[in-house]
């Protein structure tokens, strides 16, 4: 089984978020980048398929050269090969089109993407890829098993779970539950050394440009100070809510 794991290179959740160039660009200064958490659950599940079922695992990212450390980390964790599509992603659709080109060329049986990336939270790429390559698609996956060309996928639904039966080729949007947080792997030193010898292929993008571009970003207003009102002073509370907060 040939598995492709889509790896998004995203700011660590503790990063301080700022914008530059008149609020049109994300300021990467001092930001630590990590493997998108939803993708990391998928990668860890892919390692299980590699170890238990002999699957071959390639990881892919659409991005500039600055994303290579993230791909190297995935190789150090155990992926067999990595591909970087050399273009700075413009929007979800253009990323999906780039990925679809590679998926068709590489004839992958299973594509594991994350349900959404934690930077822009678009959540569109996995579904779009499935549409573009004509594969089956299950989103919000919290369980995945493959037997021959049959797949059993567990999907999170409102307040419960749904078990779906489908066939390869398959694209999934994965999340926590594919594996648990305690199953996530830290690469080890031998893995880091072996990653040196594994191929990281840079492919030039197919001529697709983004159809959308960001005009500006805005951060939520900072939280104001807290005013404490004593429990016996309800009149003051009502007056504050009415005159200052203007919510009643």
């Amino acid at each position: 089984m040939k598995i492709l794991v889509c790896i998004s290179h995203v700011p660590d959740t503790t990063s301080k978020i700022n914008f530059t160039e008149g609020d049109t660009k994300f300021d990467t200064n001092g930001v630590q980048f990590v493997i998108n958490p939803n993708d990391e659950f998928g990668l860890t599940r892919a390692m299980w398929f590699k170890e238990k079922q002999g699957a071959n695992v390639t990881v892919i990212n659409v991005g500039g050269a600055d994303t290579e450390p993230t791909l190297r980390k995935a190789l150090a964790i155990g992926a067999d090969a990595a591909i970087r599509v050399n273009t700075v992603p413009a929007d979800g659709f253009s990323v999906a089109k780039q990925l679809a080109t590679v998926i068709k060329d590489g004839a992958y049986d299973l594509v594991i993407a994350g349900r959404e990336s934690i930077d822009y939270n678009g959540g569109m790429v996995p579904g779009m890829i499935a549409g573009l390559v004509g594969a089956n698609f299950v989103n919000n996956c919290i369980g995945l098993e493959v037997e021959g060309t049959n797949a059993k996928v567990i999907r999170e639904i409102d307040g419960g779970k749904e078990t779906v039966s489908t066939n390869l080729p398959l694209v999934i949007g994965g999340q926590k539950g594919l594996v648990e947080e305690t199953d996530l792997r830290i690469p080890n030193m031998r893995g880091i050394m072996m990653a040196r010898k594994k191929p990281l292929t840079v492919v030039e993008p197919s001529s697709i440009s983004g159809e959308t571009s960001s005009m500006s970003f805005e951060k939520p207003a900072p939280k104001g100070a807290v005013t404490l009102v004593s429990a016996d002073n309800l009149d003051e509370l009502v007056s504050l809510l009415h005159n200052e907060a203007k919510v009643i």
């Binding site: 190297r72 980390k73 150090a76 830290i186 080890n188 030193m189 031998r190 880091i192």
Partner: protein, 392 residues
């Protein structure tokens, strides 16, 4: 202990001097320490017990013999990677770093460098995987700073060597499977012998009541007519230079490790100084506290640059013993001073196990003594620059 909020200071953007691989090595170790060491270490230090279960994790991430070639079970990494691993582990605890240092630099290193192929094949993979833990016996009750005076000795009995003597202050001794023991032959020349647990006449009593390195086990090695097979002698180097070669490697790791302890103390004190309010202001707003913090980050930054340069020299096999001494001495002293100052910034809270600072401060009292005392390293620099020996 409160949760581990550590953020590493990098005042001079030294990350730009590291390769992506170095950063991956460091961040991997840092994450492992946050996950496996920080939550448990305070308890073990308070109980004065070595957390035995973590040897498996140390082995898995590759902290045992990071620079030993892969064919012997190591990771084949460079010296800067080794340093960064030591830095991050000591950020967690000097005792845990001691276990990793001893295993890598004082046990695996001499077997790799001074042993024969059979010995390498027999011991290195077991030590790299953590299946076996090793220890290093140089210091004796009456010979600490002056190891050349050692009295532990062995006699050639034809088909074996007969070993007698005692070693003291030996890290990992109480549970080590194998000891690299330095002893004199009948001509007074120092050799390394591999002594395995279970050999008749070999015992390893534990040293009790330490106020320092409490999460690391220390003990004695006692040899009472131990018959050591002849194939257990390290054949490729003898003389005092052999153990000193191991110490160079370990001291180099300690120079990095001390930065880790200092960074943890600084980071804790900086955060605390912004949160603790006295006289209506965060204490970090008072000049006296700022002086402490500003001096700490200055000293950490200097130590980082010194050590990074030493790492490059070490990678090129050009670092001298005296250069390593300077870094070990400077950095451990720097870390101990920072730990003491940081502890004061935390006031009363600084003495509790809620924070790591007091533990670091106590640990560093051992680190400034072992692997050559603070004084002895000064004499090494003195000898190097004047050519005059002030030891004796």
């Amino acid at each position: 202990m409160a949760s581990d909020l550590f953020e590493a200071p990098d005042y001079y953007n030294l990350d730009e001097l590291l390769t992506d691989e170095h950063k991956l090595v460091r961040d991997t170790t840092r994450n492992w320490v946050k996950k496996e060491i920080s939550p448990i270490i305070e308890d073990y230090a308070q109980k004065s017990e070595f957390p035995m279960h973590i040897t498996k994790g140390l082995a898995e991430i590759g902290a045992f013999g990071p620079y030993i070639p892969m064919k012997y079970g190591g990771a084949g990494l460079d010296q800067i990677s080794y340093g960064l691993i030591m830095q991050e582990i000591e950020r967690g605890d000097s005792g845990i770093r001691s276990t990793a240092s001893v295993q890598s630099s004082l046990v695996m290193y001499p077997i790799w460098k001074y042993g024969n192929e059979l010995q390498r094949q027999k011991y290195l993979p077991k030590l790299a995987s953590g299946a076996w833990i090793g220890c290093f016996g140089l210091t004796e009750p009456d010979h600490g700073s002056n190891p050349a005076g050692m009295i532990t000795n062995f006699k050639d009995k034809g088909d074996h060597y007969l070993l007698n003597g005692a070693k003291m202050w030996i890290s990992n001794a109480p549970f080590a499977h194998v000891a690299v023991v330095w002893a004199k032959d009948e001509n007074g020349r120092i050799h390394g012998l591999l002594v395995e647990r279970g050999m008749e006449g070999f015992s390893t009593p534990k040293t009790h009541s330490k106020w320092s390195l409490r999460a690391s086990a220390t003990g004695e090695l006692i040899f009472d007519n131990v018959k050591v097979p002849k194939e257990n002698l390290l054949p490729n180097k003898s003389g005092l230079g052999a153990p000193l070669g191991c110490l160079d490697s370990a001291r180099y790791g300690i120079a990095w490790g001390a930065i880790g302890a200092a960074m943890d103390c600084y980071d804790t004190a900086l955060r605390y100084s912004k949160e603790r309010i006295q006289f209506g202001k965060p204490i970090g707003q008072f000049q006296l506290q700022q002086k402490k913090l500003a001096e700490m980050i200055t000293e950490i930054t200097k130590a980082q640059i010194l050590t990074w340069r030493l790492g490059l020299l070490k990678n090129e096999n050009k670092a001298t013993s005296a250069q390593i001494s300077m870094a070990k001495r400077n950095n451990v002293h720097m870390a101990l001073n920072i730990a003491r100052e940081a502890r004061q910034i935390l006031g009363g809270m600084g003495i509790t196990g809620e924070y790591s600072i007091m533990r670091h401060a106590m640990n560093l009292e051992s680190v400034i003594t072992y692997e050559g005392t603070h004084d002895i390293h000064l004499l090494i620099t003195g000898l190097d620059i004047t050519g005059l020996n002030a030891f004796k």
